[in-house]
């Protein structure tokens, strides 16, 4: 029962990420009235590709953003782990100081 409940919650959360337009918060279900187009005339390389992706499909742009952010976060977190261990800070335990 608990496993089934967990699966339902996970599917519900996944739906918000896969179909972000169903989210009613942050502006409601309809598209925002202003359309912003990225100006790609003065940029080259990866930035130009990124801006073009934005202009072509907000969906792919959103999916890629949502994938990049946690990936970068995990990488930074792991790098910091290594650095802190080198410094000598214990990252595995803490004393129960106070409520």
């Amino acid at each position: 029962m608990i496993t089934l409940f967990g699966k339902i919650i996970n599917l519900g959360i996944l739906a918000f990420f896969l179909v972000p337009h169903i989210a009613l918060a942050a502006g409601g279900g309809k598209d925002a009235p202003i359309v912003i187009v990225a100006d790609t005339r003065h940029i080259t390389g990866i930035l130009a590709w990124w801006a073009n992706l934005y202009n072509e499909s907000h969906l792919y742009f959103a999916l890629l953003t949502v994938a990049i952010i946690p990936t970068i976060g995990v990488i930074f977190g792991l790098i910091a782990d290594v650095i802190m261990k080198k410094i000598g800070i214990d990252l595995r335990s803490r004393e129960l100081a106070e409520h």
Partner: protein, 352 residues
């Protein structure tokens, strides 16, 4: 000095990138330490750097998701995250947030509710401040009484003990939250998360500022578990928010990533600082952050009655928020540094 500016590919503006890193560090420290996203601190900072408002919120949420992930990883290692409580709260928060967002849209159709929302926010912040400092005062009183009686106060003693009353409600199903050390009705975290989510939806905020004290005072979590669990929730809701805002084309990923470089460092400092600063130290600093937020709201309300001072009030509000961020992050950084030095020194002394 052209190299200090970077062109944002989507917004099309040049931004002073070291400013983004510094802002990221400050907000990272505070977020990792208090367990909140800190949107109220980031938006004025982005404004000062010349960031277009259309992208400020989305960019902030995107960086917040990454920053909270880093902090949650660290808090998770310390055992500060109650994942079971986090997942239960997440469901209640999402449902409550949607209910609040729908309600505010319905109220907006009826008339201008902006001022009412700001007053509601202010009342809530005043209540949280009172709650935090009243708790600190009561605990100090208990400590003084214990010392006078020649005893030592229990390390787990608290000033305000509302959570004990709430935990007495035995409506099934009952749950055992092992990490937080709480046995209560499942309805308690569900209702708390729904109400805090609903308030966040009405106020148009992330909700960490309300959820963190609720976890402590209503559910009864130890301070550091409240911080870790709230960050876990901020991480997931941040990703959800990043998805919705990016889908609407309101996120500047490059700026979010630059901020994340600073926030990655800041989040580590803030999170590790919870290891060295006692629970009540975190609560007092949190109370000060809430006061800073409240002052900025008051300054935004003044021009409603005196439009001629709008420019002055807006500037003062921004300065206030940035000053609060700077002072608190400096305090946390110094404390973290002192604690780490002490730990390393004691380790060296212990090794033969």
């Amino acid at each position: 000095m052209e190299w200090l500016y970077i062109l944002m590919p989507i917004a099309g503006v040049k931004i002073f990138w070291p400013g983004l890193i510094i802002l990221g560090i400050g907000v990272g420290i505070i977020g990792g330490f208090f367990g909140m996203g800190g949107a109220w601190m980031v938006t004025p900072g982005l404004n000062i750097l010349g960031f277009p408002m259309a992208f400020a919120i989305g960019t902030d949420i995107a960086h917040m998701a990454g920053k909270s992930l880093i902090s949650t990883m660290r808090h998770g290692r310390f055992g500060n995250v109650d994942y079971k409580l986090g997942f239960i709260m997440l469901v209640g928060t999402i449902v409550g947030f949607e209910a609040g967002a729908q309600m505010i849209m319905w109220l907006e159709r009826m008339g201008n509710v902006e001022i009412i929302v700001r007053y509601l926010y202010l009342i809530l912040l005043a209540f949280i401040t009172w709650m935090v400092f009243s708790d600190v005062y009561k605990r100090n009183k208990k400590e003084r009484e214990a010392i006078a009686a020649g005893k030592e106060i229990d390390k787990l003693a608290t000033g305000i003990e509302w959570h004990k009353t709430f935990q007495k409600i035995k409506i099934p199903p009952m749950i055992h939250l092992k990490t937080a050390g709480i046995y209560c009705s499942a309805w308690l975290p569900i209702m708390v998360s729904f109400i805090t989510g609903w308030l966040a939806g009405i106020l148009g905020i992330g909700g960490g500022l309300i959820r963190m004290p609720s976890l402590i005072y209503i559910i009864g979590c130890p301070t550091y578990i409240a911080v870790g669990t709230d960050l876990f929730e901020v991480m997931i809701s941040g990703l959800y928010g990043a998805a919705t805002y990016t889908f609407k084309g309101r996120t500047e990923l490059l700026a979010a990533l630059i901020m994340l470089v600073g926030a990655a460092v800041g989040a580590q400092i803030g999170t590790v600082a919870t290891k060295y600063i006692k629970g009540y130290g975190i609560r007092i600093a949190f109370g000060c952050a809430v006061i800073g937020c409240a002052v900025s709201i008051v300054l935004k309300l003044i021009p409603t009655y005196f439009p001629s001072v709008k420019v002055l009030c807006d500037a003062t509000a921004t300065v206030t928020v940035l000053a609060v961020v700077s002072i608190l992050s400096l305090y946390i950084f110094v404390k973290m540094l002192a604690g780490a030095r002490k730990e390393i020194a004691s380790k060296k002394a212990a090794t033969p």
